[in-house]
Amino acid sequence: MAERDAVTRRAAAVEPGSATERAASAKDVARGDDVALVARGLEVKREGRVVLSNVDVQVRRGELLAVLGPNGAGKSTLLRALAGLLPSTGVLVLDGRALRTLTDVERARSIAFVPQRSGLVSPFSAAEVVAQGRYARGGASPRSAEVRAALARVGASAFAERAFTTLSVGEQQRVLLARALATDATVLVLDEPTAPLDVGQALATFALLRSLAAEGRALVAAVHGLDDARRFADRVLVLEDGRTRAEGVPREVVADPLLRPLYGVSLREDAAPRFDRVSDDASEAAGDVAASEPADRVARDETEGSA
């Protein structure tokens, strides 16, 4: 228990949670050009119950922030609040502007949300679904260059004309990601983007997310797998019961003392066997994906991948 408290204290030290700071104006918190999304003292209530309390988030361009936490910790709620889709209180700043003052169209141009599953019930083609991502920018034809590029980016060109409702869950997930890319938003918020995917698809998706970050986008993703968070995220935020449990770089946060009591798992730091993608054939953006990963990851992946 003492060990756990020590970790919590360390985590608290990195999170700027003082009352003074929370009261900072939108302008203050957005200082610095590379900060895309800032939340301070974020709180969400549902039916009178506080489900998210005093959470601080800061995402820079070029960065992938993984949100971890056991089921029911409030990951989805946090993502929806960050994307402006849930009523919340506290400071919420997107690209230097108070997010809540933006119109739906203004918000949609800057921040895209990728749900775990789409609620779409009608048989629109995949290309039509991706074209919906252009709504806030005046619309686009399913055959437009933007839509085709987004579909190609996620490797979904092959089923562009198939009805969305007839696609596999993994294919649907790629189409939803393409729809988010078609918005041209700087900030991408993804709710467990790899949950319905098999291991190869999941690795391809993470590679794609890394390449998107490398292009200067800011990404926040709820992540289920602790290994994935450790491998692919730049920073990690751990939620427990709607509160920040820890925040920091993956090596410090995704560590045994903190996560053992949360998940009831232990972490072995030895060189356990690990799977890597053999090639990027699942993604048509193979070149982009490898080239944009951080140097150490690329080196590691390529050595192991070609072995």
């Binding site: 739906d104 949609a108 039509e128 919906q132």
Partner: protein, 334 residues
Amino acid sequence: MNVATHDRAGRSTALYVVLFVLAALVALSSMTVGAGSLADEGLRETLLSLRGARLAASFLAGAALAVGGVVVQGLLRNPLASPSILGTTAGAALGGQLVLLALPFVALPVRSEMAVPIGCLLGALLSLLTLLALLRHTNDAVTLLLTGFVLSSLFLALGSFVTSLAQNDWELGRAVVAFSLGGVSSAGTDHVLFALPLVVAGIGAAFGWGKALDLLLSGEEEARSLGVDVPRLRWWSAVWVATLVAAAVSLGGNVSFVGLVVPHVLRPFAGWSHRRLVPAAALGGGIFLAACDVITRAIPSHGEIPLGVVTGLVGAPLFLFLLLRQRRAELLRG
């Protein structure tokens, strides 16, 4: 990709060719079928003018109800929704009946031909907003249909009460009963000219909101995340559906099934996109109701069969067939 595109464009062209041919046939039969003979030179002009107004009235009412159906189906994300099933038509009818009842006692600032459609509009709007408020947090089909059924029953019961109140006065009683039974036989050029801009504006608005309604098919949250102002969309859709239904009810009374059947029949050809479905539904709805009106005149009987009876007799079995086919397809898909 090109094959699919050509296929869709080809299907769309074929659909409109078929619709225009059907429209011409229905227009022709509407002008020629009826009790009087066009061979009689003395009657010809009168008959053509009466039948022309009647054709226009049934076509407009059908177009309005079908497009209203498309919009509520998008709004509620449920292809089983339609203005008559949701109680919107009954609400509009009650509004019209209340205005007729009030007319002898209240000096209204508008002419009576206009007062009735305004009553219909308020009734339809009140009914639809009540429904949307009750269904705020669900799109479950059973809840939707039951809520619509309850609202519809409530408005029909109130309508019957109004009709019985009106029987104290012979003239008023006749007017309310004639309005309640519906039918386009009494529609004159005045009615048509008053309803025309409402129907055209309603169809235009449905087309205009089409892209936002397409996004709403993925659910409120996704539509919002993509930039749709959902509360505004819901409000304006309700206003325009109410306008369309009010225009239809003031032209043809309480006619059911048009808003349900026409979009169902057209979707396999026109697709789900509202921008493609709305114009097709306007044409298809117009053709369907004008054809039903021809049938009311063609079936031999004492007087004419009410229009709502024909739409019900054609629409209900067709809807059941479509429902069973959809259900079977769902079961086959597993």
